[in-house]
Symmetry: D2
């Protein structure tokens, strides 16, 4: 249950509930109050006089539900992301920050194409300890320096809770990766900040679990969550993962958060990225995340799925008329 | 290995090979000869003088491979289906033939919208013996009668080999359903005819196995195979299946056969069918298969996923500009 | 709903129902009557006086449910298979009948070890048309000839409905393969016979769907169905399939049919077959199906998973004490 | 590549490599040296004179491979776990520490049955923020207090990297849960300690990825890793997960680490836990992890899968003869 509480509610009462139940969340800005639905089926008596509005939910999807709020849009610097926004961000960049030159080339490409968002990983959650693990803090510094120079919005990923504060301070948007979707150390830290979050779906998480992970952030007080579908694990082995657009259709129908699609990790090969991007745009989602690299054959990670700059250009040309049809603007 | 044989090849030699090896296929029209690649790595000596061209394959994908032929298009009555064709068929109709009235209403809707293809099931491959199993032969007769009157192309499904000849004689295109993809009784019968086939992917078949099932038909001499992606089974339970557009990207890259998408069975709910159809069209596939029903709430099967006629109309409006962008024509 | 009908029920009434509803099944031996639960929630009036007992089911699992009958045992020649039976059959044999010598060697091995059941495939449901498809009728003849000589019970598989009558007449137990589990041409033909059936689980079928396939046979009047778990398709790629013993635990808890386990197809490699067989026996199932071959390296199909005779011997030694613990007798 | 270095190797050289490459690991006890196989295909020149033995691996499975070492056994207080050990630990306890009484009852049950290992969760990695999250530090204190009094070995789980040091100091064995298998904050912290680790397989991780996660711990210098199979996510929905004994067969064939099986989380229901435990023991694994609770119906988490004490007793009786057959001793 979610309560909208009258502004006259004494702060004292709210705090009392917070302490005693631990399931009560005090969001100072809006006096929005969350009551753990399994414990409280009715409004606590001493709050009843202050209640303006209340929402009762059937399940653990609450703040993200369209039953609660129709649409959420998220402002990041000068762009707005969400179902009703005109901006259609296409977030491009390499899998990993490898060196300053590489990030510079990417930044130039983005600037030339009037794109505003760059992605690059500094902490890489690799499957094997014997693979390249990322440049870590040094990588974040390179990314920040060049983004600042080019006035770009940076997206970068936390791989575990040990460096989440570092990500919060260096990146404009903190990406939670597919292998970290359940990491409550990361989710809790993000829920206590106002940092925009790009939450990737766990590759074996149901859409319900995906949204429940978002609820960890939302219920802590941070409303700036963007969902990102990036492919799920199935029996199919000719492609790296299976992009789940049925799941995206479900999210669009039931969830109020912005939805971004990452076709690069889903397919795992560069050949079909443009087709999948066209599909995603036509479907009415809110942005794209695409891996590009000045020279994919030399990439230290995910070499096969990154587009080179010529192909990235072609992708932009291919999706432009579809973005226009959706009455949106590429940023 | 595939051999193109000179027209002067004596029929006698061909027949001799057919009998002795059982792996040799005599396609009279084109003198195209297929040699089982595992048995023959080299051209049989007595055929060598007649060989015009030969193809060697790395795996069991042979006649469907773009290495063998770049594109195939299939002519069905007055429409052409394939990667390079202008026609974009949208095949609509109910899950099951229920009665003449129902099929009449659908036929009127299609005619009004200048659509040329109707689908409806007479033999229903149900999971439970205690569910409606279809009108069987009576259903086929209704479908044929009304299609004839309205000059429509009929698509209908065989559920097992016992009635495949009936389907071949009644339907314009025989659909092989997701549960019958491996049914070699069906595949063999179709391979011996020239009947166009809509082969649905087994819901747990890899794209490789999907194409191998097509090879059963192609290698028997029937080149008229259309592939249909209709969703695969995954762990996700909020949607009925998971539409695999990564798999479709792979098919487009490697396979020469036309590709159709069926979003209705993939999602299993009517709400997202339009969005998924838009995605499919934008991706550059060759047709759509959509379940519609005059009154879905009363449908005897698949009630939740069928669109009513008003929503079917809206779907057509929504995909039209995308079909125009692809320089294709809705039929 | 299932009705037990008094022996005095006039045959006339039963036949009348059969004709008019098509959902009514006349089992002459027991006068057990099945009424399609979705159509008949109440007993038809003219049958009411004859009703001895009735069962109402929550779902499509009816005749296989332990709510209907606690245990079923199936007599095949001189052995009994089922939860409460002493006999523990281990059905061994090659993937495919290749020639008479091969089947002879297997038969000698079985006889030497006092085993009574042989399995071998004549119709092979291969994924590719370019692989060995089995010796077909010739294979069945070889199998029958040698089994007769050695007094063995034969298990062999139908791959589609075109040759199901042939299987019914040649084999003692007709195996329905994993790719044919949904083949209603096969299921219906078997339901009309009294032939014992080994029904393999579709590799992507839920246990519910697996039992529903059995209901097609049972509701037609053939009670002799044995279920066989043989591995399901998952994301794991180091093993061919994933043996689903959780599913087997569910079957044991809810279903009255005998359960056999086939570890060979599940794992796909010979190295762990003995361990998995031990696990299966300890779990309390009712039999094993194991692929063995006189010389696996030369097998025309499934070479990697077949045990040679020395290893088959070791397997028998390894499971013997476990079968003794379960108070059963290897046959 | 792994190098065994002569004892005379100057510590100086080892440290130099550690610093400069970051991929070099100095394990003081054995002078075992790991060189990142992608960077070093040959022995670094200045180490060549000291090399006693070297191992070259085909893939990222190195220290866990039976090609490197045949078997590893792990000593925890007075028990030994591993393929060649006599001890067969059955680790029992509730899903969550709920209060002191509950843990006391469990400890009494274990002591009465001569069992030495207790499991209970203090930090619960729940899917929803609106579910019980565990007693956290207070829970660990209760667990430690009662285990000390009863001389029990404690197993408890870290849910993310923020409290991993707390777990290392409170628990005898740190469990890494299925949702944290990829958490490199946890894995790295554990790799730097000598704390025994029970690493659970990610429910959608292949066995290869599972072992690669173990390599993160092993390559950091901590050899005390126990693998735990606990079910993988598949399409089957009648059971919570699918216990993957084919995967376990693969692990037994290729990996030198001890293997424990957790049937409780796999099945998700109490009814089949005994059968699955019997299967696991018969298969020759090295221990069991079973959820038990004094009153499962009142459990704050995983109520359906926990055994009550009477059923836990029956389980012990049921597996005892199988453990005896394997010539092992229940501890």
């Amino acid at each position: 249950m979610i309560l909208h509480i009258d502004n006259n509610t004494p702060e004292k009462i709210l705090l009392e509930y917070t302490k005693s139940t631990n399931s009560f969340v005090n969001k100072k800005e809006s006096f929005l109050q969350l009551v753990n639905s399994s414990n409280y089926k009715t409004v606590p008596e001493n709050l009843t006089p202050f209640v303006i509005d209340k929402f009762i939910f059937k399940n653990d999807i609450q703040l993200a539900s369209i039953d609660y709020k129709q649409h959420k849009s998220i402002k990041i610097k000068n762009i707005n992301i969400g179902r009703k926004c005109v901006d259609f961000p296409i977030i491009m960049g390499p899998c990993s920050v490898e060196n300053e030159n590489q990030i510079n080339e990417i930044a130039n490409f983005l600037t030339k194409n009037n794109l505003k968002c760059i992605r690059a990983g500094a902490y890489k959650p690799r499957t094997s300890p014997y693979s390249f693990q990322g440049l870590e803090n040094e990588g974040l510094k390179i990314l920040k320096k060049i983004s600042k120079k080019n006035n770009l919005i940076t997206f970068s990923e936390a791989k575990d809770a040990t460096h989440i504060q570092e990500l919060i301070s260096y990146a404009d948007v903190v990406q939670v990766g597919t292998k970290s979707m359940y990491d409550q150390g990361i989710l809790k830290a993000l829920s206590k900040s106002n940092k925009p979050v790009l939450l990737k779906r766990g590759f074996s998480s149901t859409v319900q679990e995906f949204v429940q992970a978002a609820e960890f952030i939302l219920s802590g007080g941070n409303e700036n969550v963007i969902l990102c579908e990036r492919g799920i694990r199935t029996f199919e082995d000719k492609t790296r993962f299976t992009l789940d657009l049925c799941g995206v259709a479900w999210l669009k129908e039931h969830i109020n958060l912005p939805i971004i699609i990452d076709p690069s990790h889903a397919l795992g090969y560069s050949y079909g990225i443009t087709d999948l991007s066209k599909a995603a745009v036509a479907m009415g989602i809110d942005g794209l995340l695409i891996e590009i690299h000045p020279d994919p054959s030399k990439a230290l990670s995910d070499a096969e799925q990154q587009l080179n700059l010529a192909n990235a250009s072609r992708l932009l040309d291919a999706i432009s008329p579809l973005i226009a049809l959706e009455k949106r603007k590429l940023v």
